[in-house]
Symmetry: C2
Subunit: 429 residues, 2 copies
């Protein structure tokens, strides 16, 4: 074993960073044996240097992250600051000064992954980011290495623990969105400002990263259709139950039937209770991967939290350190397939639509005609009347999102349709 240690700079020492530092210390011998050389924490960049950080030598702490990544003797920079800047500049600077980078930064990778990979490649360095998607669950490595000889057709998953906690709570207790969110906040599962989670921004970033790797095609954050779950109601869950379904916020990356284009989207959807994703409880994450040869694979585990995210970071750290020692680099960006990324309108799926309608003869015929005119075939209709008002619940066969949108627009213009109570996609069948 080499005795001269590999030097690691840690950018950020919050929930994840402090756990990375702790494990680097407590498991130093194991890490050294697995890497083939000791690893040494050479510096820790923080915003608040006065905060006491148990187990971290205060002389390593600095507020000057830029100087740390420019030192020139750093082998690996671990970036767990999050956000776009200063993380982006620090990572680029790290490559320029000879370091490889392990990052947990989904927002940055989703937005600037291509440029960061290019910078890594230019300097012959590694960029690893298993922790950016689904915490501890090995997903990036299986997709870009284990399935490298296969053709992935679909990635379908629960990649945000906060929203899964809220939806699970609504499902199991009948609570409304706000009530379930309040509980998630009280228990620390939701942040004070939950926008990034509940509006699907976090899941959309992960979907962009997963789609890019799965399809060997650049998928930008802007390419991902995004719909949050703040408008999911207790009534939607009751409708889902009548269908033998539950509701999950899903990230779905799909190759088109002809194989030439892909789509990526995040939205709430009904999935059958028999689908393995339906039983993913609380803040857990799970991702289904469907490929030509392997068939259906599922990866399940804790999608967030300091320790699980640190596990993923450290797995990458070991890999990057091994690469340093052998003088090689791991797989970089693979975007050779360069498939068309299609807009949401071209997604084909099934829909569950609840309409408030006038309770009089001929309404169903009118509504059915509108669906037919837009080429959307109806699977089932259920009609419930009360006091001159009625509701129609329509479940369609597979149709394009554009056709469905056209249908709904036309339905809203009918005098007999008082309102469209909800539209929910049905997935995983």
């Amino acid at each position: 074993m080499r005795t001269r240690p590999l030097k690691v700079a840690l950018l950020g020492c919050g929930v994840v960073g402090s756990e990375v530092a702790r494990i680097m210390t407590t498991h130093a011998d194991d890490l050294a044996a697995r890497i083939g050389a000791p690893v040494e924490l050479a510096g820790v960049a923080v915003r608040r240097p006065s905060k006491v950080r148990e187990g971290i030598d205060p002389s390593l702490v600095t507020t000057d992250a830029t100087a740390l990544v420019k030192r020139g003797d750093i082998d690996v920079v671990v970036e767990v600051i999050g956000g776009i800047e200063p993380a982006r500049t620090l990572i680029t600077t790290a490559f320029e000064h000879g370091a490889s980078v392990v990052s947990a930064n989904k927002a940055l990778l989703a937005q600037d992954g291509a440029a960061l990979h290019a910078a890594a490649g230019e300097h012959g360095r590694d960029l690893y980011y298993e922790a950016a998607v689904a915490g501890a669950i090995p997903l990036i490595r299986p997709l870009r290495e284990s399935l490298a000889g296969d053709k992935v057709n679909r990635v379908l998953g629960i990649v945000n623990g906060t929203t899964n906690f809220i939806l699970d709570k609504m499902d199991s207790t009948g609570a409304g969105y706000q009530e379930a969110l309040d509980e998630a906040t009280a228990l620390g599962y939701a942040e004070a400002d939950p926008t990034a989670d509940v509006e699907g921004f976090d899941a959309a970033a992960k979907a962009a990263i997963l789609a890019g790797i799965a399809f060997h095609t650049r998928v930008r954050l802007d390419d991902v259709y995004r719909e949050g779950m703040t408008e999911v109601t207790a009534a939607d869950f009751r409708s889902a139950k009548e269908m033998g379904c539950t509701i999950k916020l899903l990230a779905i990356c799909e190759r088109s039937a002809d194989g030439t284009s892909v789509t990526a989207r995040v939205h709430p959807a009904m999935i059958p209770l028999t689908h393995p994703l339906a039983s993913v409880r609380g803040a857990y994450n799970a991702v289904f991967v469907e490929s030509d040869a392997a068939g259906q694979l599922m990866f399940y585990g804790p999608g967030a939290g300091g320790s699980p995210t640190a596990s993923a970071v450290l797995g990458d750290l070991v890999a990057v350190c091994r690469n340093r020692l052998s003088g090689a680099t791991g797989p970089g960006e693979s975007a050779y397939a360069d498939l068309t990324v299609s807009p949401m309108g071209q997604v084909v799926t099934r829909y569950h639509i609840s309409l408030d309608v006038a309770d009089k003869p001929g309404v169903l015929a009118q509504v059915a005609t509108v669906f037919a005119e837009h080429g959307v075939s109806i699977d089932t209709v259920r009609q419930q009347g009360k006091d001159g008002e009625a509701s129609l619940v329509v479940v369609t066969h597979r149709a394009s999102d554009a056709s469905l949108s056209g249908t709904v627009e036309a339905l809203r213009k009918l005098d007999t349709v008082r309102g469209v109570a909800s539209i929910m996609r049905v997935e995983g069948e």
Copy 2:
């Protein structure tokens, strides 16, 4: 991209080998793009050269596998023959002549993994074998790379599809073992001689491989306690249901509570219906991994079959080819921890024991005394009497296997105990 192709020799062209060859041809462009150089099938060693093999150039087919691996221009040997010899000699010869090896051979890896790794290391070559455990499910790579910075404490899984199919059938239909086996055979899920599967030999080989990687310790096939599932009865399933459980053939690799020793075992066990492994149906496989930092992870997918196994082989082929191009090698054997591998007697778990007893006063007291004398604490007892005969169902708290064995031996000597109808371990709680 390099234009000179990497040369691949395929040993074996059965269900898996023919699928590997087919995908290498149909996905040649994708593989080239992902590797950075084309891959070329340079030779295929078979036993029956006269058999027509669609899509394979007959001029590549040979019966002389030894000459093929000795050619000297082969970059990667893919071994999908199975069994110990001639596979072992061919792989060793391949390393000696400069090739890296991708193998799907669980029996060989479990028996001679250390020697094969040593041979690979001596010649600076790779030995990859994702396909040897749980077919297409990425498991070897996550364990030896993704979790390389973590401390794995437990691997618990369904790693044999044949036995899971049989047990699932018994569970869902109430069928007995023989009836379910007959159906599995008729449907092609069980081989004509099902011994390797139903007696747990196949699962034990996988357990040895998984334990070795998970605990960075050499675990030999002989170290794995093995109990088949041929004696599981319909009555056991009824008992399991009363406990809110089902029965699965599990491979369990565990670190002891004090961290200094490990155990590996394969046996049927009751697991709660709420455990994710309980809902693994048919011939699917699933493996739970518990580690310090990551917590609980689960990997699920098809555990066998030509295409899924080929997916795993090709993922390894891409990795090994990338390593060839960069001049590096991937992680080799990691056995530095060198923990003690303890025998079955030291395993600690819970037990479900059914006893046929005389239906008279004092029997329960006698039986309870025997448990107490052996230090096995009883959780629940259920007593059912009929016509002078009665049955006692005892569920214990956690106890060592040695204590339980001593208890059972003593119980058999009691006049009032007519027989021990079944002993089943209870896991996953």
